[in-house]
């Protein structure tokens, strides 16, 4: 058991050591391709609040962050809305499984979708949204199917022995038993959404964290590139913590989540 102090100290040891190494490697070296951490910090401050450089990037962070967040959660929610019910049906109904599963598995390598998405949706936010949807969709789908397929058969026997009708088996046994796995799928899907959003926003999108990173790169503003990366990391982390907290509350019964 870690003490309260240890619980908060140990996780920050590695990031701080990384920052120190970064600082040693880049400080007072004008020829370095990577700016020192202090400069990235200043860029981050200017991006968030402005007042330091007063250029096109100043105080735009909230706009870009909101644009990315709305695409991430929009695409993710759509993926969950389609992926969970479809996964439940594929997992439970044999005909649906034989109909959809092979096709879906063949369509799975998601990166190859980028060019077609650009043709279909044009270069812009709709392509990014579509990529996020696809990136989140498969983890949700695959884990939902797995959850439904791996219900302990004893629980079906127990339920029917206790008088549950066959129509009650799905809501009373399959759904709750598959919930931890569905939840894992949602968590992975949201994680993927944060990975994919950056790629999606790098081509012809005006707003979003991926967009400012690409723009800063073209202007050789490496400190802003790194600041943007840091924001994505933190936003993804907070979003994952939120999902985990939700999981702990909803799945108190599950030893893996409690």
């Amino acid at each position: 058991m870690l003490s309260a102090l240890g619980r908060w100290t140990w996780p920050v040891v590695v990031p701080i050591a990384g920052l120190v190494l970064w600082w040693i490697g880049t400080n007072d070296r004008p020829a370095s391709l990577v700016p020192p951490p202090v400069e990235v910090g200043r860029a981050l401050w200017d991006l968030a609040a402005g007042g330091l450089y007063d250029d096109a990037f100043s105080a735009t962070l909230i706009t870009h962050l909101l644009a990315s967040v709305s695409r991430v959660y929009g695409g993710f929610l759509l993926a969950a809305l389609v992926g969970v019910p479809l996964g439940l049906m594929i997992g439970r109904i044999g005909v649906v499984r034989s109909m959809f599963e092979p096709t879906l598995q063949i369509l799975r390598p998601v990166t190859a979708w980028l060019p077609l998405a650009m043709i279909l949706f044009g270069i812009g936010p709709r392509s990014a949204f579509f990529l996020v949807f696809l990136g989140a969709f498969y983890p949700v789908l695959v884990n939902t199917i797995f959850g439904v397929r791996s219900v302990d058969p004893r629980l079906f026997e127990a339920a029917s022995m206790l008088g549950a009708s066959s129509s009650a088996i799905f809501p009373k046994v399959v759904l709750p038993a598959a919930l931890p796995s569905i939840f894992t799928g949602l968590r992975l899907g949201l994680g993927f959404a944060w990975v994919v959003i950056v790629v999606g926003e790098m081509t012809g999108v005006q707003t979003g964290l991926g967009a400012i990173i690409m723009e800063a790169r073209q202007l050789s503003r490496t400190e802003i590139v790194i600041a943007g990366m840091a924001v994505i990391g933190i936003a993804g982390f907070i979003s994952d913590q939120f999902v985990q907290w939700l999981g702990r509350r909803l799945l108190r019964w599950s030893p893996q989540h409690a």
């Binding site: 004893r154 026997e157 339920a159 029917s160 022995m161 206790l162 549950a164 038993a177 019964w253």
Partner: protein, 268 residues
């Protein structure tokens, strides 16, 4: 039978599993009648068909030949009147102790008040009042098995089917639960069919010990245990019953030819 119709009439029941290595005769031509309120133990080595017979009574399997009748109705599937207590508990992990016990009454559409009354009554009966809101993973093995028993009792079961229910528990917990089960059985007049491979457990609990033999699984003998209750495992009378039954079991364990042993292990 002392009072007319037997609660269970098992007549000429066989169960054959088709597998790639050939047919496995899990149970061959088993016949048995059980009266209401009897405590019957099925005992035998692995692969003798004792669990298969129990699952056939539970309605989880359908016989290849013959039939199981409860009162005068053929068993066609699982039902609340034949409550099964599984060795691995099979509790619903997402439901609390109360939720698990209330599952049956709810599934059968009883009113909210009746469901609550039944749940609370049986939570108390198995001594889990303090744990009513705990989830299965927070309970010990013995407590989980108490919940599994309460779950079928709350559902007005007439027969309790128990498949090596105490097999996974430590010796002390097992003894406690055996005592509690006997007390419960004497109080409720339930019919109990109890599968075990422990001779001592069978003699301690049962009115009748049905010895089964493997390869193919069949009923070898039906032995009435005439010892008075409560039974003392250390008494000479208990020992002589044990010796007699051990003799029956050893004689057929020896008879299993080595080449069918892998087949026996392949049985579900």
């Amino acid at each position: 039978m002392p009072n007319g119709l037997p609660i269970l009439d098992i007549a000429g029941v066989s169960k054959t599993y088709k597998t790639r290595v050939g047919d496995i005769h899990a149970l061959t031509d088993a016949s048995l009648t059980i009266g209401k309120g009897e405590f019957v133990c099925l005992i035998g080595a692995s692969g003798c068909g004792k669990s298969t017979l129990l699952r056939l009574i539970g309605g989880f399997e359908t016989p290849t030949a013959g039939g199981v009748k409860m009162w005068d109705a053929l068993v066609t599937g699982p039902g609340p009147e034949r409550g099964m207590v599984f060795q691995d508990y099979a509790l619903f992990p997402w439901l609390t102790v109360r939720g698990n016990i209330a599952f049956g009454p709810k599934a059968r559409g009883l009113s909210r008040k009746e469901v609550c009354a039944a749940a609370d009554c049986f939570i108390e009966m198995v001594g889990l009042t303090k744990f009513a809101d705990a989830y299965p993973h927070q309970l010990s093995g013995g407590m989980r098995q108490r919940v599994a028993i309460a779950r079928v009792l709350a559902n007005d079961t007439q027969i309790i089917l128990m498949d090596e229910p105490f097999g996974a528990l430590d010796a002390m917990t097992r003894e406690r639960l055996q005592e509690e089960l006997l007390e419960l059985w004497q109080r409720t007049q339930l019919t109990v069919i109890f599968v075990t491979h422990a001779i001592e457990e069978a003699i301690l609990l049962a009115d009748r010990v049905v010895v089964m033999t493997p390869a193919p699984g069949r009923i070898q003998s039906d032995n009435r245990v005439a010892l008075t209750r409560p039974r003392d495992v250390a008494s000479p009378e208990f020992n002589s019953v044990r010796r007699e039954l051990s003799g029956l079991l050893v004689s057929h364990v020896m008879k299993v030819p080595t080449e069918v042993r892998p087949l026996l292990r392949a049985l579900p």
